[in-house]
């Protein structure tokens, strides 16, 4: 589902965010990307969502070579890759419902279908009662769940999360991870960047550890 072939990302200032990374995620696989600050976790995810382009090597997502994707195809690529951010990136002047509906609206889905899907997704993340409120009135954990619902609502085959538990206390963090495990059970491919090693260590999932832009280890902890 996701494949990196000897990928490097050199930023315009000359700094190499990633160097020589090769990686393969099967469809339905769930993996964590760990590493110190500056190791290249965010860079790795940004290459998959085409927020950046690789400067060397090839990135494949869902059978497509991203290097060969024209810029007018990028929006269609992003519809297949749900992205979740530490800072949520919500529209603060729109209701929770409207925020979650956004990916469906841009895809031109019919109104009734949007309502049905948004409600179903709100139910999944446990925010059914909050659909009419503005995101700023929610707690950090709730806002994060709105962000997750938005990434999930269009049922993308791939879900990326960059520090999704960054600002949350351990209990909320575990709840979020629990949600991800549920999504994975229905076949979504997940790649989650985090520096919270304790949180992911005991899950028995694949962990890709980055160090200075390179893969230092790629293991499944039991």
């Amino acid at each position: 589902m996701i494949r990196f072939d000897n990928v490097a990302k050199r930023y315009p200032n000359g700094h190499e965010g990633l160097s020589g990374v090769s990686l393969h995620l099967e469809p339905g696989e769930m993996a964590f990307v760990t590493g110190h600050s500056g190791a290249g976790k965010s860079t790795l995810l940004r290459l998959i969502g085409l927020l950046e382009r690789a400067t060397r090597g090839q990135v494949w997502v869902n059978g497509r070579n991203l290097n060969k994707l024209r810029s007018r195809d990028i929006p269609y690529h992003r519809r297949e890759v749900g992205m979740i951010f530490q800072d949520h990136r919500l529209l603060n002047d729109r209701t929770v419902f409207d925020n979650i509906a956004l990916p469906l609206v841009v895809a031109g889905m019919a109104h009734a279908e949007i309502t049905r899907r948004v409600r179903a997704t709100l139910d999944k993340v446990g925010l059914l009662k909050k659909e009419k409120v503005l995101p700023i009135t929610l707690s950090g954990g709730e806002q994060q769940r709105v962000g997750i619902a938005r990434a999930l609502v269009s049922k993308p085959p791939v879900l990326l999360a960059d520090e999704p538990t960054g600002n949350l206390d351990p209990e909320l963090s575990r709840e979020i991870i629990e949600l991800f495990l549920q999504f994975n059970q229905v076949g979504v491919t997940l790649l989650i960047a985090t520096h919270d090693v304790d949180l992911v260590d005991r899950l028995g999932r694949r962990i890709v550890n980055l160090r200075q832009g390179r893969v230092a280890s790629d293991t499944v902890r039991e």
């Binding site: 589902m1 494949r3 469809p27 969502g49 927020l51 494949w60 869902n62 059978g63 497509r64 070579n65 060969k68 007018r72 195809d73 929006p75 269609y76 690529h77 992003r78 519809r79 992205m83 990136r89 919500l90 529209l91 956004l102 990916p103 841009v106 895809a107 031109g108 019919a110 938005r150 269009s154």
Partner: protein, 319 residues
Amino acid sequence: MTRQGRSPKFRRNRNPVTWLLRHAQMSLSSLGRLSRSPASTLMTAAVIGIALALPSGLHLLVDNVRQLSSSWDGSASLSLFLSEAVSGEQAEAVRRQIDRRDDVAESRLIDRNQALAEFRRLSGFGEAIDLLDDNPLPAVVVVRPHDSVAGVEGIARMAAELQAYREIDMAQVDLQWVKRLTAITGTIEHGVAILATLLAGAVLLIVGNTIRLDIQGRHSEIEIVKLVGGTDAFIRRPFLYEGLWYGLLGAAIALLLVLLSLNLLDSPVQHLAGLYASNFSLAVLDPLSLLGTLFGGPILGLAGAWLAVGRHLAEIQPE
């Protein structure tokens, strides 16, 4: 997962009904967004309206002046100054001869004594005149041309013919002002065309700048829409509709302004026309100006928005 061979194609929504529906929704939601800040919307639209009203208003004015001058051609007269050699009795004979012409409706002789008396009365130089031994003024035959003598050229031709008479020193057409007016209106007409071009540019800039500010204000929204897979066309659309609405509102305001000015001008013009016994009435907006304003506004608005969107949307990329 196929590493070899062609990549699977993206599914694009090309249903025309959905497409139309989305456009209708988008245009309404753009209008809704504008109506949520009525003061600033009206202000921008008013500036556009004034810019659009000026050329069509001026065009209308020039049109009316031209019509006015042509409707007054008929009341122009010719003053024929008889030569020194023509005696008092001969002068009346000359007048009768002129009066027999087909193109003369009416003629009147002002003999030298009358001319002097009139000059004394009107000029205020009475005492200076008294100092002269001789009456320096020639006899004058004032001619009103027949209605069949059309326009400035017809009267000028008639004057040239009369000037050829031996007894007539000079045929003066009291029409100079009409000619000048025609020249002036011609010049103004050119000026209006230039002004219209400049103001069209101004409308483009006004809308462009308004949309640019709007794009900046919605920076994070645009970023997020790009993140969740909004196409450039999707992001562009509300701004283009906004430009279109601004242009349409501006055009409506422009037409309102022109009609209002016409209304205000109507009664003084009727008064003026009455003074000159003319049956002149104000021309209303011609179809060209009307359609020009009605379509020009939205087209300029759309073009201004397009310029702003083209320049500034690409700069916004999600982090």
